[in-house]
Symmetry: D2
């Protein structure tokens, strides 16, 4: 496939391509996910960050706006530019959108027309149905024609589709922490699609960099609180993907909690085995099936860690990495299956997974820049 069909797009974009570095850009780099994306792309061995945009910071260097990256030589020369699709498309082949929901879609259409590949971190292209989008996001979808084209950017589930996609919708942080543990079990028919409960804890960076009283240090430190129940927006994409895996409509019970860590999501899933435990060995038999199911689903996945023995997930063990940790327990007293996962919400739950998709569409090793 000719990645540079437009002969007019000749400058930086072409230049870095010849150096065997893929030119990439970020539109909206001042939030927590955008910042993490900057960090990953500055260190990525196969990529050159050629543009970052921000209306607020246009003209200033990356190092000036995000001093934490000032030791990267690139951060001292790269300047924020105005977020204009035409300009960015001249600079880069692959464009990351780290923008609020609704805004991202406005950029995707022109960028795709200009031959770019778009990796969107917002919720705009995660849903197949514009009606469900309207129901959960309370606005008309801004670009419904693109929904069919978008691929849900969960590499462990949609690896092949991602490789050839031009528009990738990166999953939300909570969805990733629920889907990777649940999908293999539903696909295998090991658990019932009804009555699933997901109880999640999230660090405060999940709320974004917003100057609101609720997210002040003093309001969050020494605070534990549920929020947004019983109908969090992320339910829409989680239920879409669980339903596809189960082959039937799944309705999920989902309770997010805000807890005082910067990063990390810990999810505890309550599932009903699709089995009857009547004989003494039935439980152990079912346990073997669960173990085999996960082994088959994630045999060599670089970023899914199946814990063994007594180990249970702990967000501190995945902090700063693109890994999702997973463990499960069968409770002989209740007959229920409990599956737990831990991830860094800004990495496997956002920017790390986005780079994983970048690696796939560019034909790089999937772990490039992520180990």
């Amino acid at each position: 496939m000719d990645r540079f069909p437009n002969p007019a797009a000749s400058t930086r974009r072409g230049f870095f391509a010849t150096m065997n570095l893929k030119p990439v850009a970020i539109i909206g780099a001042s939030g927590y996910s955008g910042e993490e994306l900057v960090r990953l792309l500055l260190s990525h061995p196969r990529v050159q960050l050629t543009a970052v945009t921000s209306r607020q910071y246009a003209g200033r260097t990356l190092a000036q706006v995000l001093p934490k990256f000032a030791h990267h030589p690139r951060a001292r020369t790269l300047r924020f530019s105005e977020p204009k699709a035409e300009l960015v498309a001249k600079e880069a082949q692959v464009i990351f959108l780290a923008l609020p929901h609704g805004v991202a879609a406005e950029f995707a259409l022109p960028l795709l027309k200009l031959g770019c590949q778009v990796i969107d971190l917002s919720a705009d292209f995660r849903l197949k149905s514009a009606a469900v989008y309207k129901d959960f996001y309370e606005r008309e979808h801004p670009a419904p024609a693109l929904l069919a084209q978008a691929v849900y950017g969960l590499p462990e589930v949609y690896r092949d589709q991602i490789k050839s996609a031009s528009l990738i919708a990166c999953p939300g942080c909570y969805p990733t922490s629920i889907l990777l543990p649940a999908i293999p079990l539903l696909r295998a028919g090991l658990v019932r699609p009804g009555g699933i409960i997901a109880d999640s804890l999230s660090g405060v960076s999940g709320a974004g960099r917003k100057a609101e009283l609720d997210y002040l240090f003093v309001e969050c430190n020494e605070s534990l609180r549920p929020y947004g129940l019983p109908r969090h927006r992320h339910l829409s994409e989680i239920e879409q993907e669980l339903s596809l895996a189960a082959g039937t409509q799944v309705t999920l019970q989902f309770t997010p909690h805000l807890v005082p860590v910067n990063r990390g999501i810990l999810t505890t899933l309550y599932l009903a085995p699709n089995a009857r435990f009547e004989q003494p060995d039935d439980l152990a038999e079912f346990g073997k099936k669960v173990a085999a199911c996960y082994q088959a689903a994630y045999p060599d996945e670089p970023f899914v860690r199946l814990l063994e023995g007594q180990a249970l997930p702990d967000t501190k063990n995945v902090l700063g990495t693109n890994v999702l940790e997973l463990a499960w327990r069968l409770d002989p007293r209740t007959g229920r299956l409990i599956v737990m996962s831990a991830q860094d919400n800004l990495l496997k739950g956002a920017s790390g997974q986005a780079v994983q998709s970048l690696n796939l569409i560019c034909g790089f090793p999937e772990t490039a820049g992520l180990l």
Copy 2:
């Protein structure tokens, strides 16, 4: 100076009684619960703390061992003594046991024989059955004869029994956070006794003051982790009390998590309404029943706060208080009832509740020293 001029009041116990201050003692005051008990009793307007014991600190003043209390005049004169029942019984009428499980029972028997009232913060007398104790605590019960005599110290449920009790078994921290929300619903038959799930988050003080790697600052900060599932010891007392409320055996799914706060427990309960939602108004009707049930169960409870409107529990709102906050939501999509509670694990979950019981057995206002 002769502290005991009245020869009739030959013990400190008698002396303070004549001053209209109840003489109380704490056996084992160096852990987090014991320390919190010291704080409460030093400020309690109806009580004189006449003895604290500790093998390790015997001979030193409270102020020397716990400098944070040194501004209380009493802390500068009261010295730790050896933990001997006979000696303590001479000093105090009501004795708090803040000791490890198994050790507490050894003190309860002699103290009761000496005419003291005992308020035990350990798990030793919470269970009706010595067999269940052995099953969960993996040792023979050290004083099974006392089990029938003990009253479970949950004032909102057993107020009358506590008033006349001589041995009070204070509930554990997790149990309190689960029982207060669940018992009224089970008693009223509003939810099904089967399939209940309790997902809890606890601050690190719940683990006690133990020099173990798992509880180091660096291991807990920026860490979210489940532990002790699927069969935490507290299940035994929770299921006992839920079963009594339901009139049938209840088996609970319970998942505790360790999160980086000093104090606080946040519990999310998943319950199945004992109702069918077939007509459009059925859900709202059931909601009214839930609201009425809680209003009837906790009409003027000083330490149960039923939240209204959009408010959800937040541990920071109960920190340093004896209050349990409670809110619920009916999910129209799943038909499930979600009840959430927040408490300070060292107060309503331990020492505050113990003082609430003290107030009851002494005939003080139930809120004395707790507002």
Copy 3:
């Protein structure tokens, strides 16, 4: 002195006075200091909180606005009113002002005219000189005529003046942590007035409840940073009081740091002994003088804790109390005296100290409501 000279002021204010409860009010109760003041006054045994004001919350109860106090019966009935001096003066004898700098002064004048006693937590009346105020706060002083009348509310230093004051200017949080350790040494001539350095760490509540990015959880957690140097506003009142103690102009080096705790200030002072260490025993001799100086200055102070032996100040030991902890070390290698203090910035550094002044002007025991 007739505390109620105005016969028109007859209602609630007079009513509670006859109950032997002093009627008090808070103007501006929605910030962190105001909130802490609410907590203290609700539990104070000699006081009735008769009014709280807030433009934003007028008409709502304390319990609705600050649910954490909802278990206090008073919080369920007391409603926020509009902040109008005339109305508040009818309700209360002593009025606390927990308002921003500049705004407080506007309320003080009419309240004093109406015969109230005013305890101001802002910086408006801390300085003797309107010119210094203008220099540091960059505005004209709003009520310079009142400056001479105001008493600096540091009870350990100005106890007698406070007892008969009608306008009390409560010290800032940093100033308290510096003045209590330094004043006795300067008064006794033990240290030189020149070259003093104060290096302070403050919890985030010191910045107030402001929706600014700098104080978000994610920006403060895992962050250590100096700020506001070399000329923090608090320098003006600190230097005023140090100069009075030294009898000569003192210029201070002061570096505040923001650290991730909710509450607490830890100050480290570097002082030059006014002595020559030439003989082997000189250092020990000087140390005895320092010890004697502090013992003489704070012989029975309920809220200054002179640490002994190896103990060093720790903010966690004063959290939730009105105590300032103090320790010192003489360094034989440098000949310097290091003094360290720890306090709760919202209590001894603000609202606790304000209540200490309340107790003094009302003739209550100085520790009433503070133990």
Copy 4:
């Protein structure tokens, strides 16, 4: 599978060398610094980690002991071995010692004899004088003959010596945060060698992974405390290096504080300018000299960031990086120079700086594996 098919490359050490990957080992990899070293070396593009040792974990894989690294393929195959110098020397050319003080020296001698290069993270080889070592570490130096051979591993100061060293003594965390700001000023004679004060804040990982009550989460969270003054062990190496820079004996005032972050050191230095400020412009002139001095000292240093404008150091901006941030202010009121630095104590303060030295002795780009 035969991993070493080439009989000429008879050791792993030789084998990897032929692959153009430098074989390196870590002795003592289970503490926080060791763990961070593992993380850096697993991702280092020019290095193969061929051995890690631990008596406790011998036989287990890196992934089993440190599950957070399990997504690195190398961590799943590399097993901990017994800490024996002969065995390790067969596996690696460069050996990192991440061992307690005193223990490290026992390994250095045999490793050097076997032709290895040794990078020691302990304090054993930082001092030139065995007498000073004994004075501060209260034991005889275990290998005084090696002291003359060791190079102090501060690349910005001793780059050339490091390049040809066989034994590198990596600076302590506090020393790095003090020396990089202070040495250029002392060398240039801009500040006086007398009366320097360093006030430092450190995260809890600086205390190591030790199961002690002082470092429990509940004891550190919401706690600010000085410790170890006035004579912390690190003074010995700091004063040695400051004295070398000043050309005269320097005695330092140093106060470390423990604050509740996992990582980070923030140091505030108080310095007396070697100048008189008599004319209006003198201060500004001196400021220009300070700026020029730092520019000359650190013109293109990849890991020293001289902040400009209003920016002040913040540990969160250097977290996870090998960068030290530095800013200074001249106080016109006191005439003092304040210099502040921020670093990650486990990286620039320990393992990152150690890898920087590795890069120098191996001839790699100095930033390899550190950006």
